[in-house]
Amino acid sequence: MKADRVDLSVDFTGIRLKNPVVTASGTCGYADELSEYMNVDKLGGLITKSITLKPRKGNPVPRIVETDAGMLNAIGLANIGLERFIKEKLPIIKELKVPLFVNVAGEKISDYVAVAERLATEEAISGIELNISCPNVKEGGITFGTEPKQVEKITKQVKKASGDKPLIVKLTPTVTDIAVTAQAAVGAGADALSLVNTFTAMVIDIESRRPYLANRTGGLSGPAIKPIAVYLVNKVYNEVAKSAGVPILGGGGIRTASDAIEFIIAGATVVAVGTATFIEPDAAVQIIEGMKKYCVRKNVSRVGDLVGNLKD
């Protein structure tokens, strides 16, 4: 297999991505920050930081702490809010030759709906990622993501509000059986499933005997969670996504092309690179290159052929 023969492109919710690597929500700003460090146009896609109806300052500091092979964050959905996003960021984003997915969060279903409705009118946006799995805010966030009934309700309403934009539902890993919430989202019209978001976790400073983060708890991301995330992606693929024909956007701890390929074999059509970008700002681009090399070496002509290709 020659490198220029390898087809890295994948179909994701009806959109052709030139490769299956996107940068994860909350880890690549609104794209402009990252463009100093890499050619953003090389990415398969880009997912913005969560956008809420009103601007959010986010949580007090410390907002992060490092853990073994991971980190906790409790940013608290700090973001500039829908209007400023549209006014200030969208014009920049429009210049990019890369599909952009906007991650949406809120406290009430009506907030989500309002944001989705507004975004649905913007041509520059390829799709909406519904964040019902943020562990770091008091209202909304993860509470929508654990109850199948709630997942169904919010998915249905936001799907309607999103018009013809594909809707990706981002699930929380903190449930007894993720296939149940995945099924609820798919049943309610989700065009894709995104997993995993971070795991609720805590670090205690034993000197002061206080939680290290001002928010007490934070979400664990990074290589530490990778094997759990691979398992969950494979489970959702086998039990829900495959038969429903709904693609998975998989991630959690991806640092290298090998990691990304694990997720694809487990069942992800697209992979999201998060924490790794903090360490190597161009991690996603390096992963795309490594993925191509793997395909050449293993004689895989279309990366899409690897999706869910796990032998037992």
Binding site: E66, N73, A78, E280
Partner: protein
Amino acid sequence: MVNSGKKASVATVIGNKALKKRFGRLTIQFTGEAAGRFLQVMPGQFVQISLSEAALPNPERISSDLADSAQRQILLRRPFSFCDVTVDRPNCVQVEVLYCVLGPATLRITTLSKGDKISIIGPLGNGFSIPPGKKYALLVAGGMGAPPLRHLATFIRANKPKMRLFAFAGAKSLDDLPFTVEGPKSESPVIPEFSGAGTRLHIATDDGSAGFCGLVTQYMEKWLDESKIPPEDIIVFSCGPEPMLAEVARLSEKYGIDCQVSMERMMACGIGLCQSCAVECKGGTKGETVYKLCCKDGPVFNGREVVFESR
């Protein structure tokens, strides 16, 4: 939009020297394209260094209070500022980092040795800026806040030779000052590095083991009280623990002096992606506070705009 010029640079270690107590000085060199990035570096800017590839010191060289944290596996880069930057040739820049060993990453710095390569992102953020019209600069350092101010002193000497410099360096004790101190300990000790940069140095230690006995901010206040320099001619540059910066900012405001403070935050990315390094600032349109990013908007802020953490 397409500009991938700020990639991680590979630096070569050309020296690493243990100083007293937990301090050490790492000298690294950038060549080629990377050197270009460091030609114009401003004091107060910083870099993100990857240290997870480096070795831990042998167990007997890990002090017992760090033994547990030495076990932590590190993932993120760590931010460091510079103590000195020398341009050998346009395509060869030497940078000195003064470090204090506090945990798993700084323990690993100690094992770097000549020839090792390390991955560095930067220079990042906004450094100190020298406003036109100022004639006197007060450099107020607390503990590990000294290195970037040392860099600033050299920088001002080179670029604003007419400016007069007064440096204040505070620490708990003589041992905690990250510099070699010479001369009579009790009265006016000399830190050759600062003096080398033509700076009059004032040392304060909490225990009186060198210089003024008390907080560096008390020393600063005393100096301001006695000073006859018009406040509008002075600029304060400060770096150190947040409570100290808060006091420096308060004193500066009280005396009507402009002041820049270099803030420290836990940083995951250092480049504006993660929002972890929020610094609360005045200046919302409706009088409310806003969070700025230490890594991108700072680390140097106007002393008046910061709402200091009370925790």
